[in-house]
Symmetry: C2
Subunit: 496 residues, 2 copies
Amino acid sequence: MNGDVVEVVLRGPASPLPADRTPVVVTFAADDRSVAVPGFWDGDDRYVARFRPERAGTWAWTSASDAPELDGLTGRVDAAEPTGHGGVRVAATRHFAHADGTPFRPVGATVYNWLHQDEPLFAETVYAVAAAGLNKLRFQVFPQAGGHVEHDPRLLPFERDADGRWDVARPVIAFFRRLDDAVLRLRAAGVQAEVLIFTAYDDGRFGLGDLTEEQDAAYLRYLVARLSAYDNVWWSLCNEFDLLPRPTERWTRMGELLAAVDPHDRLRSIHQWTRFYDHNLPWVTHASIQNGQAVAELGRAAAYRDAYAKPVVFDEILYEGDEPERWGHLSARELVHRFWVATVEGCYATHGESYVLSNGSLHIVQGGPYRGESPVRLGFLRGILDELRVPGLDPIDHFWDEAFVAGRARQVYLQYLGRSALSEWTFRLPQGNAGERLEVGDRFLVEVIDTWGMSVTSAGEFVLDDVRRNDAYATGSAPVPLPAGRALALRITRQR
Amino acid sequence: MNGDVVEVVLRGPASPLPADRTPVVVTFAADDRSVAVPGFWDGDDRYVARFRPERAGTWAWTSASDAPELDGLTGRVDAAEPTGHGGVRVAATRHFAHADGTPFRPVGATVYNWLHQDEPLFAETVYAVAAAGLNKLRFQVFPQAGGHVEHDPRLLPFERDADGRWDVARPVIAFFRRLDDAVLRLRAAGVQAEVLIFTAYDDGRFGLGDLTEEQDAAYLRYLVARLSAYDNVWWSLCNEFDLLPRPTERWTRMGELLAAVDPHDRLRSIHQWTRFYDHNLPWVTHASIQNGQAVAELGRAAAYRDAYAKPVVFDEILYEGDEPERWGHLSARELVHRFWVATVEGCYATHGESYVLSNGSLHIVQGGPYRGESPVRLGFLRGILDELRVPGLDPIDHFWDEAFVAGRARQVYLQYLGRSALSEWTFRLPQGNAGERLEVGDRFLVEVIDTWGMSVTSAGEFVLDDVRRNDAYATGSAPVPLPAGRALALRITRQR
C-alpha cells in the first residue's frame, strides 16, 4: 500500500540534521517535467523523499544536500499508473475536482483526536466514515486536551531535550509512521485526510500549542515532506485558530510557508472560532468556516461565496448529539437540513457527532461507530452530488431570486424546499445569465428527493411555455403534489 | 463658503501641463506636521492647491514643479478653526467617525445624475436629502446615459481634441467648478458627497466609459487634487464596476493610485453588480455592496462583516417606487424594513427612489423632491443611531443567537422584531464576550420603537435576575405588551 507514491530511500548521517532546514532535496525529472521534493529523516541513517507522479513512467532523480553522504546521488525509478483520480484541486472557481478532472464534492467528517486512539476505535472510525458515505475526515496531528478527552496518547510527535522541552529536530519516527499509515488507511477507504497541523486544544497539557514560530516551521516542513505525496491530503493550518493568543500575521507566515514548501500543492485553509481569517489571501485555496447559523436558513451562506471567490466549506455547523453545550445537541434532522442548505447555497459542509459516550467522550473526539441518524443521509446527499454531471452547484440569480435554486443554468438544478415542504410545487425556474437563458420548449425532468427518507421519485417532464425576463414556467403542467411536511428537494434536469 | 479649506493660488503656464503628471505640489508645514498636496490647473494661468488642516494655525508652504514659474515659491497661510467635525474615517473596525471622534452613521441617498441637472432640480435635491435626514449622497461625476435619462448635460468634463476625442489634459473648468460647488452645497447641508469617479452607464453615448487607463489616471489625479480637501468627500471608484468589460486588475491599479495620490486619505470603495470586488485589499476602506436580498431577512448581512473586517455599506438594496423592473418597485415599508435589518446586522444602507416621473425619469436619476414614504422614516432611524453613545452596533453572538441583537455588550442593544411583531416580548439579552458579561442586578431601560410610526415608547426598567452562560433574563418582570403586526424594534439601555 504505497498510495501511488514513489519513494527514494537514502542513507545519511545517523542522527537528524538541524531542524531549520530540509536534510535533502530530491529532484525527479521525466520528459519536460521536473519536481524538487524535500526529503525527511526517517530514523537512524534513513532519509526518504516521496513523490506522487501524475502518470506512469520512469523518473530520473538527483539528490542535493548539505550532508556529503546525501548529496549528488542519482537514480531512476519507475512509477506505475496511478490507481485513483489524483489529488483534489480547486475547480470551476468555487468547487473541487481530482487531478484527472473527476469532480469531488466534500461531505466531510470530524474526529479530532482520531490519530491518538487505540484499536479497535482507530479502524472502526475509518470504517464508519466510509460506510456512511462521508468522504473527508478532519483530524489533528497533535493530541487534544480538554473536556471529553481522558485519553493519554501512547506516542507523541517529538523527543524531549535534556531539560524536558520538545526537540522538534528529533521527530518520533513511530509517531509519524503511524500518521503515514493513518493517511493511507483513509485513502484506501476513499476518504480525504484533512490534516489539522497545529492545535488550539492543548491547554498546556502537552505543551504543543506553545511551540515557538521557528519550532512550528520546522515541524511544518517535516510534516509536509512526509505527507504531501499522499494525494488524499488536505491541509488545515489550525482548528479555531483564533483561540490562540497569536497575531494573525504569524498564521499568514505559516500559511505562506506551507504553500512554498509543498511540492504537491495540496489544498490549504485555516478554520476560525469567532474572528474570520482573510480567505482571500493567496496561500488559502478554499475558505474553511465555522458558522452554524449561516446554514440554518436559506439565503445566508452564499454571502461567503461572494466575498471569497473560492470554494466555501462549512467545517463546523454544530454537531448531532446530546451534549448539553449549545454546539453539541443538534437533531439529526436539523443537521441534514443544514447540509442541504449549504448545498443549494453552492457551499459544502462537514459532519460531527457528539452523543455523550459511556466513557464521557464524544465521537468528534475519539471516533468509532456512528450512533446518529444523520451520517447515512449525508451519504445519500453525497450520492446525489456525485450524480451531477456539472462541476458544481452555483446559486442561480441569488441576489434576487427568493427560491434559492442552485445548479448550472439550463442544465441541472437543485432546489431545497426547507424543513417542511408545502403540499405542492408549481414548476418555475429562475433565469441564468446571458448565454444560458431558458427558452420556450426546453424540457425538464423533475424528481422529488426526500432528504430524510432517502428516496428519489420522478414527477415527470415539464416543458417551458412561459419564459420571462427573470424566470420561466410550464403553465401547461399541473403542480407537483408533494408529501407535505417533509424535508424535500427537487432535482430538475434538462432533457435533450 | 470654503469648507474649512486653505487654498494657495499660483500663476503659471497659460495652458495645462501634460496630463500624466501633477503640475505643482505644494507642501504645507506647521509644527511637526507636513503635508504635500497636489495642485491642479484651474484655467488660464491659474493653479490651485487645496488643503484641509485639522486645526487652526499658520502653515508655511513651498511649491515644487517642473514648470519654473510654479517652482520654489513660498508663503504662509492662516487656517481658521474648522467649523465641522472633519472628514469621516473608519472607526472601531466596522464603523465610521469624523476626524474629531464624533461617530458618523451613514444613512445614504442616491441620485446618480444629480450633478448634471439644472435648477431648480439641483438645489431641490440637496434640500430633499437633508430635510429627510439622509446624510450621504451618491452621485456620478460623468453623466449617465441609458433608460430613464433623457437629459443632455450642458457641461462635459473635458475639451475635445482636433479629432473630436476627449482630451483629459484639458479639463473644462466650468464643469469642475460646478462640481466643487456641488460638494460644498452638500457640505453646507450636512451631507457627505460620495463621488462616483468612473462610470459604467455611458453606453457609448458620451464616450467617457471608454477612456484608456492612462486617461482614467490623469482624470483621477485631477479630480483628487481638486476635491479631496473637502472633508465631506467619499470616493467610490465606480457603480456596478463589473458591468464594464475590464480586468479586475485595472480597477485595483486605479484604487491603489487613488490611495496613493489623495493627501487627505478620504474613504474609498467600489460598488459591484454581480461579481464582488475583494474588499479585503488594502486600498479599500469599506465594503460598498449591492445585494438587496442580504438585508431582506435577518441573519444574512453580517456574513459580509465576517469576511471583510471593515465597515459594510449596502449601497443598493432596491429602490422605493413603481418602476416595473424588479429593482424599482419596493414598497416604502419594505425599504425601511431593510434598513433596520442592515442596522442590527451591524451594517449600513443607502436609499434610492424610483417612482416613474411625468418626464419618464426617476429620482435616482435626476433627484428633486421625494415622493416616497421611506425617506422621513430613514431620517428617524438616523436619529436613533445618532443618539447611540457607542462607536457603532455590532451583532452580539451572531454565530449562535437567533434573536440577532446588535449593540455594545452591557451598554446598549438594538433588537429588531421584523416586519410584523408578535403581541409581546419577554426580556432576554444574549451574552457578550468575556469582560462584557451581563450580571445579576444589571438594570436596563427598554424602549419600544415603531419604525414606521416613528415613535419611541418606554416599557420601563428590567433587572437581570437569571444570568446564564449564553443569555440573561429578568424573570421578575412581565412580558412587554406590543402593538402586534407593526414593524417594531427595541432599544435596551443599561441604567447606572
